[in-house]
């Protein structure tokens, strides 16, 4: 089984650990597959403008550099740890209310996708790039510091067809509603700090290459979740 984490932030957005150190942290801990998914924040409201102002977002003008660095780290991680790195982003649509906010992981992204686009346009563009679409922390989280992102869950009848997997667990939280609806699932850390490495993770029973991993998640066979602890 491959030990995987598909939701990791670095200093390219609001993570506290640099990309290289993040890769080493996961490599030293024996992970097989990770995805680097820094925020791409919508710049069309005051939240987004602040995120752009303080560089808590990957932007169109530094996306190429972001991808190049991930590619470079990917080669190093493969050679040293036998660990696969998937480039990705977390499309971050923050609104005033939780009901209108949503975060979406785009895994194996090729070209920049702005967060200000409509949901349909984002999903279709992700499909065109053969990327994987994952709905992040789609339900209520108990931590008062976290803002809920409920838009996709509230509109699941409309959008579920575009979504390849839903986060059934995010860091310490488990969203049992995903299993009740029998949606495809994965579990991730939403890594921002070093201690977040000890959290829910995905186990995949497939080959260690990007095509098999995407197929495994889409078909949701051979997928398990585990609480990774020391």
């Amino acid at each position: 089984m491959l030990l995987c984490d598909f939701h990791i932030h670095t200093k390219y957005s609001d993570g506290s650990v640099e990309l290289r150190r993040t890769v080493d942290l996961f490599g030293q801990s024996g992970f097989d597959v990770i995805a680097i998914t820094d925020h791409v924040v919508n710049g069309d409201n005051s939240f987004g403008k602040l995120a752009h102002r303080f560089r808590f977002s990957v932007r169109e003008n530094n996306f190429a550099e972001y991808m190049d660095n991930i590619r470079e780290e990917s080669e190093r991680a493969w050679e040293k740890y036998g660990m696969l790195i998937i480039p990705g982003v977390e499309i971050t649509k923050n609104r005033l209310t939780s009901d209108n906010s949503a975060h979406i992981l785009i895994l194996d992204i090729q070209e920049f996708i702005p967060a200000s686009w409509s949901y349909e346009k984002i999903f279709l563009e992700a499909k065109a790039q053969n990327a994987l679409v994952v709905a992040c922390h789609p339900h209520h989280t108990p931590e008062i510091t976290n803002r809920d992102t409920l838009f996709l869950w509230n509109n699941r009848e409309k959008y579920a067809k575009y979504i390849d997997a839903w986060e059934i667990a995010n860091r310490d939280d488990v969203f049992n509603v995903i299993s009740l609806k029998k949606y495809p699932y994965i579990a991730n850390s939403d890594f921002h700090k070093a201690r977040h490495i000890y959290s829910w993770k995905t186990l995949l029973n497939c080959e260690k290459n990007i095509t098999s991993i995407k197929q495994c998640i889409r078909h949701n066979k051979g997928v398990a979740i585990t609480l990774f602890r020391n």
Partner: protein, 404 residues
């Protein structure tokens, strides 16, 4: 004023003792340089070695630590990674290392052993049973070694009088306060004390992160079974070797202990555990540790008397001298820590000063998830989990969980 003069005197004595520790470290490193130059040309005649690596959980830098032992410039050696169960997260890393170095003689030994109460010794017993060679090296999972590590320690075994070789350890890395404090403490108090005891008092002070010995010597002192129920198995093995008339050598070769993401709780837990161990082994000698903590001594008048200009100026002066001493050692041992981090050293010494009192009031230790009571010579006994004891632990655990 009398209080101030008394503590000021103790602080000055503490600084003098620290000066001797620095001298001991410097002298150990100098001797080492000479020995290394003399033995550099020698490339053969080294005995085959079984390296026993007890693993439990994920240490910082574990992959690199295990990889460093596979990259030794040494003619013949085997590596045995030893674990208690397959679900240990370290198993996956041991497996990756084995797959990465198929040409190396690596065995992963997974066996649940409950012979004694010391989890490290329990982990070592199955590995020792399958070790092929007469010379064994016990190397902790948090040890990162240079390529010449095995060569440097094995050369001491040419002398048949030598029974055990251990190493000096330097702390490196540090991205969190806990890890920085740990590294500062390793590179000042721990390193200084070990070198001081070796140079001036000729006392064996073995730190179990690296112990090199012959099987026949270990068997002669009763093997691992003789230390299966003690917390300080390393210290006792050294002591028993010494009592048997064998030399216990502190190699000048420095090994690295990479501490990167420790929390403060881990730092406090480790040093209160080590404090309890030294209190139970050393008895009254344990008080010398408090008196040699110059920074703590210099701050006591501020706490007990009053924060006047003279007490604060004295504490600041002592702290500055201690920081300079720490920076001097760090330059000698070539740590890569920024000198600015050494400004945290007085704060670390204050915390260590408060931790010093913990062993006086508590005899229980929690080590790798197990709770024990610690007795004379660090003898372990299981904590009673019934009656009033169970309530005591339940209350303390609840308070700790709430605080966390």
């Amino acid at each position: 004023m009398k209080i101030f003069i008394m503590f000021a005197g103790l602080a000055v004595l503490g600084l003098i003792a620290y000066g001797f520790q620095i001298w001991a470290v410097r002298s150990k490193l100098k001797t080492g340089d000479r020995e290394s130059r003399a033995s550099r040309k020698k490339r053969d005649g080294y005995p085959p070695v079984s390296v026993l690596k007890p693993l439990k959980g994920l240490d910082d830098n574990l992959f690199d630590n295990l990889e460093s032992i596979c990259m030794q410039d040494y003619p013949k050696y085997e590596i045995i990674f030893s674990l208690q169960d397959f679900n240990d997260p370290a198993y996956k890393i041991a497996k990756k290392i084995k797959d990465k170095y198929p040409a190396k003689d690596i065995t992963i030994m997974v066996e649940s052993c409950a012979s004694g109460l010391n989890p490290k010794v329990n982990n070592l017993i199955p590995a020792y049973r399958i070790a092929k060679f007469e010379h064994i090296l016990i190397s902790d999972s948090n040890v990162m070694a240079n390529r010449n590590y095995l060569q440097e320690i094995a050369k001491h075994m040419e002398d048949p009088e030598v029974g055990l070789v251990s190493n000096i350890i330097k702390g490196t890395g540090g991205y969190s306060f806990g890890a920085i404090f740990e590294n500062l403490h390793m590179n000042s108090f721990i390193m200084g004390s070990v070198c001081f005891l070796d140079k001036f008092l000729k006392m064996p002070c073995v730190v179990g992160k690296s112990m090199f010995m012959r099987k026949k010597d270990l068997e002669a002192i009763g093997g691992f079974r003789a230390v299966k129920d003690v917390l300080a198995e390393d210290y006792l093995i050294g002591k028993m070797m010494h009592s048997m008339g064998k030399k216990v050598v502190l190699s000048h070769h420095m090994i690295k202990n990479v501490n990167e993401y420790w929390g403060m709780r881990k730092f406090v837990n480790r040093h209160s555990r080590w404090g309890k161990l030294r209190w139970k082994i050393g008895g009254i000698k344990y008080f010398s540790e408090l008196f040699s903590n110059a920074v703590f001594m210099s701050f006591l008048p501020v706490l007990l008397w009053e924060p006047s200009r003279i007490t604060l100026a004295f504490a600041a002066c002592v702290s500055s001298i201690k920081v300079l001493g720490d920076i001097y050692i760090s330059r000698k041992i070539r740590t890569q820590m920024s000198w600015l981090l050494y400004l945290l050293s007085p704060l670390k010494d204050l915390i260590i000063g408060f931790i010093w009192f913990v062993p006086i009031f508590s005899t229980t230790v929690v080590w790798r998830g197990n709770r024990y009571r610690i007795g004379k010579d660090s003898m372990l006994s299981p904590c009673p989990e019934t009656g009033i004891w169970s309530w005591k632990y339940r209350v303390t655990d609840t308070i700790k969980a709430r605080l966390a």
